[in-house]
Structure formats: C-alpha cells, structure tokens
C-alpha cells in the first residue's frame, strides 16, 4: 500500500473518519493525562518563582535550590530517604529469597498453600492499619516488650518508637513483615522454572539439600534477583512516605523524615510552596538519572548473561 503525496490529506481525513470511534474512546483519556499528569509538571515553574497564591509572580531563578543545598534539614531528609530505601531493598530481597527457598522445600501441599496464602495477606492491608497494629505491639507495655522481659532477653521494656537510633531498623523490619510474602512470589516462580533434571543429576552425584540449594537454586534465580535489584535502583529516591509519616513521632523525627515529608512539613504546612516545589524538582531529576542508570545496567547485565 503506497500512498502518493497528493493523497495524503484525503487519506488522513479518511483515516480519522474510519477511526472516529477509537478517537472518541481515547481522546478523553488523552485530555485526562494532560490535565492530571502533565499540567503538574508545568507547575514546576513555581520552583523558580516566589509563588504565593493571589500575588504577582516574582522570578527568583535558582534561589530556592541554593537555599535548599544550604539547609541541613534537607541533607538529613535526603540521607533518611536513601538509607531507608537501601535498607528496605536489601532486607526485603534477602527475606523474600530466604522465604521462597524454605517454602520450596516444603512438600506437604496443604501446609505449603496455607503458608503462602497467609504470607501475602499483610501486603494488602493499608499502612494505616499496619502502623496502628505495630505501634501497639511494640509499645512500652505491649506484648513484644512483655515477651522479651519475660524471656529475660532484656531487663526493662524498650521504647521502640522512642529512640531515633531504632527507627530505620524497625521500619525495615515492619516492611519485611508486610512485603516478604508478596515479594517471594516472583522468586517462587523463578525457582519453579529451574530444570528438575539438574536436581536429579546433583542428587546422583551425591549433593545434599544445602549443596543443591547453593549450587542449583540460587544460581538459577540469580538473573531474576539482579533484574529486580536493578529495577529498584530507579526507586531509591522514592522511598515512599506513608510508612514514615504514620510511624514517626517527634522523638524520632530526625531519622524518620524523608524528602516527601519535608515537602509536606515545609512546603504545605508553612506555605513555602516554591521551596517545596524545588525539593520536588530535585527529587524528580535524581529519580530520572537513577532510572537511566538502572536501564544502562540492565542492558549490560542481560548482555553478560547471553555470553
């Protein structure tokens, strides 16, 4: 089907006419995309202004960014964001792989299914519920403290949410509780894709359970692990903020405040809109750089797997 240049106009008209229903079905969503996803990006110009609603626009260039990089609280928030992201990524991946390996060893089907089904239940309950449960569970007079005192592992109840040094670890542990079952699904799928003949051959060669796990299962799922780790690099600066918002209190704020919470606290509550927008821009730029790096790495990794 070759079209002559002269027919282009008629062709376009004809095509539009033929596809009018498809156009009607998609144009509203294109408009929606522009309004709800692209106009906010246009709002980034606020970051270069001294914006207050109802007042004349004053351009300030990079002043907010310069201020930002001089603010110690910004560096704290940046540190917390990265530390919690990295901690969650590693603890989450290790927990999920371990859980998948254990679950794979279980041969009793009913038990296996029960454990798996229950394991991803916490993934579906909201962070509000999780925070509500764990702040009670880990309270000074909560069951965890009572158990630890009773077992004589600690002398006096620990104020889990009262010491800022604990916050990252507790946050990571709750994340593991919430997400391990869900994250394990992908590794279980990877394990089930390993050729069973490999295990058979290893068994004949006299390899025990742990050797088979170490030499067959783990290398077998390694590509999946690497891909998932690389994909998550892009999200390192988006650690999420719900969990931190809900679990924090004024005693631990120094270690709990992530960039988004900083935006909410400074940008919205104190009406420093332009400053808050500048933080958002910084975050997006870093995020895009990380995504590009991750994609490069992914390409390299897949190349090395082909060879």
């Amino acid at each position: 089907m070759k079209t002559k240049t002269g027919d282009n106009k008629i062709d376009l008209f004809q095509v539009l006419k033929n596809q009018k229903y498809i156009l009607i079905m998609s144009i509203p969503f294109v408009i929606w995309l522009i309004i709800f996803r692209y106009i906010p990006i246009w709002g980034w110009i606020m970051g270069f202004q001294e914006f207050q609603p109802g007042q004349p626009v004053k351009w300030v260039g990079f002043a907010h960014f310069i201020k930002l990089f001089q603010e110690p609280r910004f560096y704290l928030a940046l540190r917390n964001t990265f530390v919690m992201s990295v901690l969650n990524l590693f603890s989450g991946t290790i927990a999920a792989i371990t859980f998948a390996l254990f679950l794979n060893e279980i041969k009793f089907g009913v038990f296996k299914r029960t454990v798996q089904t229950v394991s991803y239940l916490p993934y579906f309950v909201s962070w509000v519920i999780v925070a509500s449960i764990f702040t009670k569970l880990l309270a000074l007079s909560g069951p965890v403290n009572e158990l630890l005192v009773h077992l004589k592992l600690i002398k006096a109840p620990v104020s889990f949410f009262g010491e800022k040094e604990y916050f990252w670890w507790i946050h990571a542990a709750i994340n593991v509780w919430k997400n391990t079952g869900w994250n394990a699904i992908i590794y279980l799928a990877a394990i089930s894709g390993i050729n069973p003949e490999l295990y058979e051959a290893a068994r004949i060669d006299g390899a025990g359970r742990f050797r088979r796990m170490w030499h067959i299962t783990i290398p077998g799922i390694l590509p999946v692990v690497i891909v998932i780790l690389i994909m998550n690099i892009g999200w390192l600066i988006n650690s999420g903020f719900e969990s931190q918002f809900l679990l924090k209190n004024y005693l631990v704020i120094e270690n709990a405040e992530v960039l988004d919470l900083y935006v909410i606290d400074y940008g919205i509550k104190l009406s420093r809109y332009s400053y808050g927008t500048a933080i958002g821009i910084f975050k997006s730029v870093v995020s895009i750089i990380l995504v590009i790096v991750a994609n490069r790495l992914a390409r390299k990794a897949s190349v090395s797997y082909i060879f």
Binding site: W32, Y38, G43, S119, G162, S284
Partner: protein
C-alpha cells in the same frame, strides 16, 4: 546407613516445618492481638497482658465506634469511593487499553509515549495540590476518583491481554457491521474478564486503603473523610498522648471507660475485615496479576 539418612531427613523436616510455623505465627499474630484488644474491656486492657484472647469480653468498643456519627459516615464514604473508583477505573482502563491496542490507530505511538512517561515523571505534591485547587476538587468527593482514574501499569497489563485475543473475533464482528463501541462492550470487555478482575481488585484495594488524599484534600470537610483517615487521626492522637503517658494515669479510676486505644483497635479491625473477606476469593487473581506484570517488566 539408610536409617541414618532417614533420621537426618526427619530432623531437617522438623526444623523446616517449625521455622515455617513460626513465620506463619508472626504473620498472623499482630492481627490476632489487635482483635483480642478490640474485644476486650477498654479499662481492663490498660492493665496489659492481652495476647491471644480477650480477658473481659465486650462488644462495647464496636458499639461505641458506631455511636459517633462521624465514623459510620467515614465507613460509608470508604465503601462509596471503593465502588465508584473501581467501576470508573475498570471501564476507563479497559477502554483506553482497547484504543491503544488497535494496530492501525493513528495516535497509537504518541499516546502510548504520553502514557508511559507518567510512570517516570510527575509534578510532585505541591503542583498536584494547586491543580486540585484550581479544578475545585478540594473538599470534593470527586478528588477520590478523578486523579487516580488511570494507571499506566494497568493499561499496559490489560492491553497485553487484549493483544492475545485473536483478531479474527473482532474482524468478524466488523464484517457484520459492528462499530468499535459495540465490539468493545459486547465482545472484548467480557473476554477480558480475568485481567479485568485482577486490575479491578488492585484498584479496589488501593481505594479502600488510601488515606493520604483525604489528608491533603478533604480534611477540611467533616463528612467527607474516610475510615482509613479517621483511623490515622485517632492513631496519631493516641501516639502523641501515650508518649506523654497521659492516658495510663488518667484512666485507672474509671470503671467502664472507653479509651482511644480501644477505639483504635476496633476501627483497625473494621478496616481490615473487608480485605480479609475478599482475600480468599481473589488471591489467585492477584498472583496472576503480578505474574502478568512481571512478564511486562
């Protein structure tokens, strides 16, 4: 020799099954504990020591929750936003996916790029806030539905599923003179039931669980808040108060007092139950969903 292997295997199994049972217990116990607290007498709970079952059983905490006018309204709004948001989300996602999977659709490429870019960039909290304000969505129920109407991942998943349906089906319908709306609603949409169920459940869970939009956009309106938001507020109040240890001292004298902690426990259970209720029916779909998503990744 053989016996030796057998005992070793038995020992291994015992360790393995014990570890898994402990994991199972750790997963479930937090829910059991909060359930026990929610069913226990509020003042009695302050003495501590509620682990697996209530000591002084009562339903008072639950009846109290429903005696505040704000909370049943919040629960109703949670249900409303879940139902409306899921219905609207499903239709819009499927329709958009249908348009984008048409092979000769003239806008296929630019619109796909427009959609995919949203996965990586967004305006951020403050520009979003001003957009909602200028659209008049502050303290407006529609703010629960409109901004999250379409999610690029869901469109990608549904589109991939639609592409696996043989073209011959819709081609035959076209021969019979059916136009795209008819083909979409009568043929393609019903054929997509499994994937629609998957993304529908994701949307529904997301709707039921969200609280941050209420916090940002609707906290000024008394009867527009949701259950999760109310739970968040009560939890935050309890946290601040218990850090100052106000409650423990103040409540000892009362006999049948309701404490904020007890209310918090009851609402936590109320907000969890719908998830628990749909969970067994749908978890198969969820797993399939993540596998579909993983393939696309």
């Amino acid at each position: 020799m053989k016996k030796h292997i057998k005992t070793r295997y038995l020992g291994y199994s015992i360790v393995l099954y014990s570890i898994m049972s402990i994991i199972l217990f750790i997963t479930v116990y937090p829910f059991i504990n909060i359930l026990a607290i929610s069913l226990n007498d509020a003042t009695d709970t302050l003495r501590g020591g509620i682990y697996l079952a209530p000591r002084k059983f009562t339903l008072l905490n639950y009846t109290t929750v429903f005696s505040f006018p704000a909370l049943p309204v919040a629960a109703l709004l949670s249900v409303l936003r879940t139902v409306a948001g899921t219905a609207a989300g499903i239709i819009c996602t499927a329709m958009f996916a249908y348009a984008l999977q048409q092979k000769h659709f003239i806008l296929k490429k630019p619109v796909s790029i427009l959609l995919l870019l949203t996965l990586y960039i967004g305006g951020g909290i403050i520009p979003d806030f001003f957009l909602m304000r200028s659209l008049g969505l502050i303290n407006n129920f529609l703010v629960y539905i409109l901004p999250g109407l379409i999610n690029a991942w869901n469109v990608i998943i549904v589109r991939a599923y639609m592409e696996s349906i043989p073209d011959s089906i819709s081609e035959a319908a076209k021969m019979d003179g059916a136009h795209d709306f008819l083909i979409f609603f009568k043929i393609i949409f019903p054929l997509c039931a499994p994937v629609i169920a998957t993304i529908g459940l994701f949307i529904a869970v997301g709707q039921w669980n969200s609280w941050f939009d209420t916090f940002l956009y609707c906290s000024g309106e008394k009867f527009l808040t949701t259950l999760q938001y109310e739970l968040m507020r009560i939890m935050k109040n309890v946290q601040t108060a218990s850090n100052a240890d106000v409650f423990r001292g103040g409540m000892e004298q009362g006999s049948t007092m309701i404490t904020p902690q007890a209310i918090q426990a009851a609402i936590t259970i109320i907000a969890t139950v719908p998830i628990l209720f749909v969970y067994p029916f749908v978890q198969k779909h969820f797993v399939r969903g993540i596998q579909l998503g993983a393939i696309k990744e």
